[in-house]
Symmetry: C2
Subunit: 475 residues, 2 copies
Amino acid sequence: MKAPSTPDLLSRFAALVGPGHALTEAADKARYLMEWRDLYRGETPLVLRPASTAEVAAILRLAHETKTAIVPQGGNTGLVGGQIPVPGRQEIVVSLERLDRVRSIDPLGNSMVVEAGMPLAAVHAAAEAADRVFPLTLASLGSCQIGGNIATNAGGTAVLAYGNARNLVLGLEVVLADGRVWNGLRRLGKDNAGYDLKQLFIGSEGTLGIVTAAALKLRHRPRGLAAAFVSVASPAAALDLFARAQAAASFGLTGFELMSGLAMEFALRHLPGARLPAAAAPWYVLVEVGSGRSDAEAGAVILDILESAMAAGEALDAAVAQSLSQVDDFWRLRHGMSEVQKHEGGSIKHDVSVPIGDLPAFLDEAMAAVTAAFPGCRPVPFGHMGDGNIHFNVSQPEGGDRQAFLSRWDEMNAVVHDVVRKYDGSVAAEHGVGRLKVDLLAEVKPSLDLELMGRLKDALDPEGILNPGRVIRRS
Amino acid sequence: MKAPSTPDLLSRFAALVGPGHALTEAADKARYLMEWRDLYRGETPLVLRPASTAEVAAILRLAHETKTAIVPQGGNTGLVGGQIPVPGRQEIVVSLERLDRVRSIDPLGNSMVVEAGMPLAAVHAAAEAADRVFPLTLASLGSCQIGGNIATNAGGTAVLAYGNARNLVLGLEVVLADGRVWNGLRRLGKDNAGYDLKQLFIGSEGTLGIVTAAALKLRHRPRGLAAAFVSVASPAAALDLFARAQAAASFGLTGFELMSGLAMEFALRHLPGARLPAAAAPWYVLVEVGSGRSDAEAGAVILDILESAMAAGEALDAAVAQSLSQVDDFWRLRHGMSEVQKHEGGSIKHDVSVPIGDLPAFLDEAMAAVTAAFPGCRPVPFGHMGDGNIHFNVSQPEGGDRQAFLSRWDEMNAVVHDVVRKYDGSVAAEHGVGRLKVDLLAEVKPSLDLELMGRLKDALDPEGILNPGRVIRRS
């Protein structure tokens, strides 16, 4: 248990940031305490909004000295409760939002140093102003912050070609649990001078240090883009199509998304103006190809893929986007898929991954398992097939009781996660662990993994003040 | 200091591997003790050749119990002495060479599980037999082993498009210092279920655990390839050409190597049958582009790049390879560059990296600095420009004394590394630290970095038995 936050202690913390940036009023704190899906509601005596790395460092020095729990917060878009302070625990929220500057940009060197609180969309804009692209792309683009993206090793829709956040980070600046600042802001393509310390902090969800700045990899913007929307009979057909698309597009395959027929029905029903681009089918695939030179070059690759896939019977039907706005329309269907499920009643979510080659078998088994255990439930899986990452969401039976369905959340999770484990998959593929899955992790991870994680936590945050209770439980 | 290896203890170790696989005779041990450039000569009471993960585990259990130092060894191609047992220290060598099986291969899932002792060339062959490619490529391809590649986070000539070894590993099996086996052999494109423990072991040079198997990422083989050999006036022109090539080839730019004019002269002088493909110039660039579809498509991209680069004055002259064998000829010039330097007398090596955009300034300054400090010396830099990684080698003055020149190795290093540090570069870009650079690292790394590295070492190898004295010095 951490020390209680006495009024005196809170004043000491408040004095470390500029006036107006230590929030104690309920109205001021509200937006830091609410999670957008309303699954978590937080409570805190204090929200701190430091303006600099030095202020973050001062906060952690005091927290370390007084054993005060700190919850770092970026854009507050996390889906697993990591960023929301637990009621009754007196955790102090440290928002990084005021660290929002571009420190430097080097287009010839394809790198950019930015502060943690920059919204991802602002990072994109800064890269684009330098005729480059920072390829990490997620639905919460406008609100999420790059520091949070790095702390959670964010994925999204561009992982296939560019990798997760981990692959897009050249260097980090991190405030350690004791308030010291680790300067790992290197901008090197290769560096084997000792252990790669930045890897520790990427994806550790703020439990091992607070990222305050990052050196990011930039890329040249592909000047050509083409996309197709393909009707397929099954995930197995989609997998064959995936192999075909990889062979033809090679490096240029920038997107390969799988969508179940029912998930598509929901999108068509609830997204204003949505229409199905190709013939109705049990499953759909969105294929996107980039080219360094032209839309025509990308288009030729897409046509090659589709022609041979139709001939091989892998594709039942297909539509090629005739314009960038049609590419956007395709993506809009895909991106709307999570959102529209709320119109169909309660939805129980699973963010899982399995080896890509096992996806068809996994989907068959998981859909059969939930349907057997919850008669009438409607599995609507969709996701990043190219990464083996499926959002295996299950909507309640039509006309059924929402609360009754949602009350069986853990039970449903157990059914799905059993199938995930059979395929040696992950129960936390891209959204992380946070508070939501910390017990689950303790259950599914081998004890040696948990022990090694504990040794890292002890080595880097011996007092356990950084985002306690997230990712890993300590005594 | 570790416990002395008594005859009794050595017998206990020997009993853990099959008969004939505990080597004590000088003739049997010789090839494990000699480094190919003859810079290190080792000494050991015992070379163990375990046949399985279980045997490696048994060895480490005993080593942990008896505090015996263990030196893991792969293909013995390392350039920094990490794999050679130190004379007088009684370190036991554990060769992984008998763990050389493919455990499984999944072409549709683009992954393969292999044991640590497989030569990289055998990994390539196994991938190719499944119509895939494992893209990690280095000069020591035929001898180096995948376990060593992972332990050293190997780079090589395909990093630009595919990343270092770190980016090509999906999962690992590692024997920990106490002999327990950590099974992290996941084959997932996305997994954020807790800390990414495999990152700890990649690039730790056998000091935190012994890699016994790995799940590797496979790729589809680009079906088209094209290359050009370009004469340029300066590294600055090469940098502009690099930006141009990235823009045009985008994902498909698979190689961008820079070679100084003098390095090329050496190659032409000493490589049998070598000829200069394009007009003589102060610097040369090798550009390689891959395509998913055809040589013609890759060739069109190369032509695009060259035409506009000639028009812009970035390229002085260029030759496009007319066949795959000509592509090989281009690479042969580049790959021969290290080897041929020995014909020009003593050579002092630096494996460094700087931010890519700073390469021209770095090269100017470093060449001026060594020439000023060592009159008549001949800098012959070349390397992976696309990764900011230069092998900054310096040959002795013509007709000078080899030993006198080589005796100033540390002095030369200091001059070059000062310039590297000015640009916030790395003094160990791709060859690692080993024994060669452990003192250097202690000198150039911030103390906080060294402290954090020490905490990791203590957390994972508290007895300090794994490759002691490499990467990091412990008391």
